[in-house]
């Protein structure tokens, strides 16, 4: 990359001033288009009540630092419950996904192991073809998983793509390392657990985070399979109370009926922020690893 750029920009007399200004403006606008909405969402969730009401519901820069909206959603009501459900699904789901995917990928990464071709084909074809909504729904129903949190985990637990990424990483581990362990008497599982996994921390982090983000963001499966509001994940709460603009009563929020609530807009934006925070926390880690983890060996052509 750097050599290309040096050649393009260093030795070359460089782009003209006008095109440099134009580039800067275009990129600045692109970044602003992404950043400003986030700023607005966070500002509205912490601005004072009058400020939110006066400015018609959406504040770009807060006049105060007011946590009332957050206090009201963490009062034990529907939002807090949904947050818990989302954490359980994302945590448990990621564990199940990682366990299943790494073991499958490892067994596919050993050259010449029994049944490797057909199993690899099964994994690859699952990436190309998706079975369709209705049959998926019927299978989940037949297994009695409707209204169970497992319905949000098991159907999406194994992503063929992630298995392939893990497999290609495992195949990059020098065979001699594994052979020497084998000579010392380690079995396949032992080698996987004590040698392969510790060597693969970076790719495990990336794949794990991808799974986690997937579970955290999943909305449609929850809408399809979960009708019991006590088992709603956060995305369904967002859909109902933010997108569909259903009014949140203090009963929904676990408070007494007479409680004075902050403006609906502030509460809505607070819920939005709560559902954003985990993504924003893991994002720097993702960011550091994904280019490496995803692209090593992936885009060579």
């Amino acid at each position: 990359m750097s050599t290309v750029q040096k050649l393009q920009n260093g030795i070359d007399d460089g782009p003209a001033m006008s095109s440099r200004v134009l580039k800067t403006v275009v990129l600045a606008v692109c970044c602003a288009v992404v950043i400003v909405p986030f700023l607005g969402v966070i500002s509205t969730s912490i601005a004072s009540q009058q400020h939110v009401t006066n400015s018609g519901g959406f504040v770009l820069w807060p006049d105060a630092f007011n946590l009332d909206a957050y206090k009201s959603i963490f009062n034990g009501g529907v939002v807090q419950r949904a947050l818990l459900v989302s954490i359980v699904i994302a945590g448990g789901g990621t564990l199940i996904s990682l366990a299943g995917s790494t073991m499958l990928a490892y067994s596919l990464s050993r050259p010449g192991s029994f049944g490797q071709r057909p199993i690899l084909m099964i994994v690859l074809f699952s990436i190309l073809f998706s079975p369709g909504l209705i049959p998926n729904y019927l299978v989940v129903k037949q297994f009695g998983l409707l209204d169970s949190l497992l319905a949000l985990i098991l159907p999406t637990a194994i992503s063929g793509f992630n298995v392939i990424v893990l497999r290609s990483f495992f195949m990059g581990i020098p065979e001699s390392v594994l052979d020497s362990a084998r000579i010392d008497g380690a079995g396949d599982f032992r080698i996987f657990w004590s040698i392969v996994l510790p060597l693969s921390r970076a790719v495990l982090a990336v794949v794990g985070l991808f799974y986690a983000v997937g579970y955290w963001n999943a909305f449609f499966n929850a809408m399809l399979y979960i009708s019991d509001t006590a088992k709603w994940p956060l995305q369904l709460v967002l859909r109902t109370y933010v997108i569909n603009n259903t009014e949140l009563s203090s009963g929904d929020l676990g408070g007494a009926a007479a409680d004075q609530l902050p403006p609906q807009e502030s509460i809505q934006m607070a819920i939005l922020v709560v559902s954003l925070v985990p993504i924003l926390i893991v994002y720097p880690f993702l960011q550091r690893h994904f280019a490496k983890g995803m692209l090593t060996g992936a885009v060579k052509g």
Binding site: M1, V4, Q5, D12, K23, L27, C30, V34, G40, V41, G57, F58, G100, S101, M103, R110, P111, G112, F114, G115, L120, I122, V123, I127, L128, P131, G132, L133, I134, P135, L138, K141, Q142, L154, A157, G160, F161, I164, P174, E175, G187, D188, N217, F219, F220, Q235, L238, V242, I243, E265, M269, S275, I279, Y283, A291, L295, G297, V299, K300, G301
Partner: protein, 347 residues
């Protein structure tokens, strides 16, 4: 995301045969079986049963993942059989009456609702190929021409972020900006101008969808192109410059041919998705614009199947949609081969 995923994986797989031989070749040939510790780099062929026994731990390890894939990915493929049944949800599976191709009649007799969904789907696909597809290419070229690595990093970090947000969050954010009491309409109101109905306007629905997709995924889409741009031989630029090519000529004669293969690959995969457009995104906004303007094949399947109980008909539509996608990908890949491109997979 699903698209780029598939490409990565396919390309990964293409590199694996050489990896495999590299790994087997490095071990001492023959030594393994003789020492009896079961190294798999054996040169002597083992019997079917002996290999299965030798690899039983590996097979057991593959089992949980494999079962999950079979149950939740391949079993539903079989579930498509209800497209040929008068399916009743409360009758045990397989007990519903077989009706042959009756469920497909809605497709072939040109049911108005179905045709409308098909029309919307194709229209959205067309608009997105024109506006969404080139956006990451342009952005990647722009980023690639930046002088400072640091600024490039920062811009990338910012622009990748929306990709990791759920559709629910993206749409909620759009509502805050474009909604009736949103940022832009508040501004218009406070300056004495009329407000604009961005979200509930059927005529603007495709523009709304398109801008949301661009906002969410353009930055992320640059990853593949930036990676491909680094693969271009710097010598080519040098040679072009020696020949007196301007920066625009270099772009046209070196950069564009350098990423042409990737562009074609992505277009083929996009073609396979041409009957699949933003399902979650549309379902979430359908109430505001109404079904005539927003119904696509996926929402048709959901609304008529899960909500209205026409399971067989919806499964039939879903099945035809899936088959068309497969045919499109395979056909486009053939065409790419005829023109000497790599395509998605090799012959």
């Amino acid at each position: 995301m699903a698209r780029t995923d598939a490409i990565n994986s396919l390309q990964t797989d293409r590199t694996t045969p050489s990896d495999t031989t590299g790994a087997t070749g490095s071990g001492p040939p023959g030594a393994a079986t003789e020492s009896g510790i079961g190294l798999r780099s054996a040169s002597k062929p083992l019997s079917w049963w002996a290999r299965a026994r030798r690899d039983k731990v590996l097979l057991l390890m593959a089992l949980p993942g494999l079962v999950l894939l079979l149950v939740f990915h391949y079993l539903p493929l079989l579930g498509n059989l209800i497209a040929f049944q008068e399916y009743l949800p409360f009758v045990p599976f397989g007990r519903s009456a077989w009706v042959g191709l009756d469920n497909f009649a809605v497709i072939f007799n040109g049911d108005a609702e179905f045709l409308n969904a098909l029309k919307n789907t194709l229209l959205i696909t067309l608009v997105q190929v024109i506006f969404v597809f080139p956006a990451p290419i342009a952005l990647a070229l722009l980023l690639n021409s930046l002088l400072s690595e640091r600024i490039k990093r920062i811009v990338q970090s910012v622009l990748y972020l929306p990709h990791f947000l759920s559709w629910v969050i993206v749409i909620a954010i759009f509502q805050q900006i474009l909604g009736g009491s949103g940022l832009i309409n508040n501004f218009l109101r406070s300056h004495g101008m009329g407000t604009i109905d961005f979200l509930g306007n059927p005529d603007g629905f495709i523009a709304l969808l398109t801008s949301q997709v661009i906002w969410k995924d353009t930055g992320w889409g640059t990853i593949l192109f930036l990676a491909a741009l680094t693969q271009i031989d710097p010598g080519l630029y040098e040679a072009a410059r020696v020949d007196g090519a301007s920066r625009w000529r270099q772009l046209w004669h070196v950069t564009v041919p350098g990423i042409r293969g990737l562009i074609i690959l992505l277009l083929i995969l996009r073609l396979g998705d041409s009957l699949t457009v933003g399902f979650e995104q549309i379902i979430l906004q359908q109430n505001l614009v109404g079904r005539p303007a927003s119904e696509v094949l996926d929402t048709y399947v959901y609304n008529n199947g899960v909500l209205a109980g026409q399971w067989g008909v919806s499964a039939a539509v879903g099945l035809v949609k899936g088959l068309v996608a497969v045919v499109l990908v395979i056909g486009a890949n053939k065409i790419a081969h005829i023109f000497g491109e790599a395509g998605v997979y090799q012959k």
